[in-house]
């Protein structure tokens, strides 16, 4: 019998926001910082990671009864490495330029702590359906995290989003956002924003805050004072 654990739906929802891999668990920081200078590489990276994560969750879940405790990490790593090789060859075959641009970060998915931690925490203990749902949820959460950072960096760094000009033509491109320091600072500030948001929601409820702001905007006191 499988051990008791969260159901598939709980796993799925947990992965997207409450246990978001990037903002809540701080896992997989290396691609998070390295490939988020624009949306396209970030989305490609998220897709490759999702493929590897879901496949390795399925595979580990299928073989969970055969795992020996002292060899399990090695088995996880080799499983992940196999799927990463598939993803890497696929990218090199169909989107060669993107594969060149991502460079060593595609093979580095192997050592992404997110995937190995999901194999250890969820897939090696629970059944196929739960593991798949967990993989999909976590991949979505990871993709959202990457996309949010990439949006900020691409908008501020070059005024574009997916290569389409969004900001007005006179926008001075913040070159630093495309460089390593921009990655660190953006992620640090976004972490703070998420932390601040959850704290406030826990304290007062975000809708109460919104309603409070709304009523303050429209109250006679504020309009008369302004």
């Amino acid at each position: 019998m499988d051990k008791e654990g969260p159901t598939a739906l709980e796993r799925f929802i947990n992965g997207v926001l409450p246990e978001n891999p990037i903002y809540r668990q701080l896992l997989g920081m290396c691609p998070t910082l390295a490939v988020t200078n624009a949306m396209k590489p970030a989305v490609t990276m998220a897709a490759a990671t999702a493929f590897v994560l879901i496949c390795s969750n399925i595979m580990v879940s299928l073989i969970r009864r055969l795992l020996k405790p002292h060899l399990r990490i090695l088995v996880f790593t080799l499983t992940i490495a196999t799927f990463v090789t598939i993803a890497d060859r696929f990218l090199a075959a169909y989107v060669y330029d993107m594969s060149k641009q991502l460079g060593p970060y595609v093979p580095l998915i192997i050592v992404n702590c997110l995937i190995i931690s999901r194999a250890e925490i969820c897939a090696s203990k629970q059944g196929l359906a739960v593991a798949t749902a967990d993989g999909i949820g976590m991949s979505l959460g990871f993709g959202l995290g990457l996309a949010s950072i990439a949006t900020v960096r691409e908008l501020l760094g070059s005024g574009t989003w997916f290569g389409i000009h969004v900001l007005p033509a006179g926008w001075p491109n913040w070159g630093i956002m495309a460089l390593p320091p921009g990655a660190f600072v953006t992620l640090g500030l976004l972490l703070a924003v998420v932390e601040w948001g959850t704290r406030r929601r826990a304290a007062t409820g975000i809708w109460r805050t919104v309603r409070m702001l709304w009523s303050w905007r429209h109250s006679p006191a504020s309009s008369s004072s302004s």
Binding site: C30, L78, T85, I110, V111, P180, V185, L187, A192
Partner: protein, 231 residues
Amino acid sequence: METLTGLILIFISAALINNFVLHYFVGICPFLGVSRRVDTAFGMGCAVTFVISISTMLNWMFTSFILRPGAPLPAWVWRTAGGNPQTQLDLSVLSYIIYIFVIASSVQFVEMYVRKFSPPLYKSFGVFLPLITTNCAILFASLEVLKHMQDPANLWSLPQALTLALGGGIGFTLAISLMAGIREELDLCDVPRPLRGAGIALIVAGIMAMAFMGFTGVEKGVETALTSLLR
């Protein structure tokens, strides 16, 4: 003399200009996780430098004899088995699996060896060893070496690969120790509540990355200085 200059340039490039943590973002997990105190951070840095050198050396051997395009061992097997000797074999599709296997097992062996033969050393950095298997920096060094093994006419030798690994490891140690020093001071500061923990650490890392960007272009000056010195 040219090789020596080349080695020094590889070292400076890996340790300072393209610092593994602050330029390539590999090894961020321990960089954020184990940088609360200077002595543990330094221990982690030493453990990484040690393992990165050993595993890069092993991986260089695997790459140069088995994995790279036109490697001798598969070619020999192919000829013995009666294949066409004109065919160029390329086993580099297997490289990721072999690399991670070599890294995982070398970490295991290093841990066993150090525990048996040098208990004080084990005490100082043995606890970090299992963590290192999933450290991107180790795999990244091997991948960088693989990149330089693609062209059969211009292969990296073992000293070059080792220098890259050592430079990367020492650069990692430098970055994580600096970070730990700053974070020890940060404990005394009044950091805004949402930024506490990882947030402020990342912003500090950003400023450090900006400082390390100042090394860009240093290699040109070092190269001229070295060539005039060694001539």
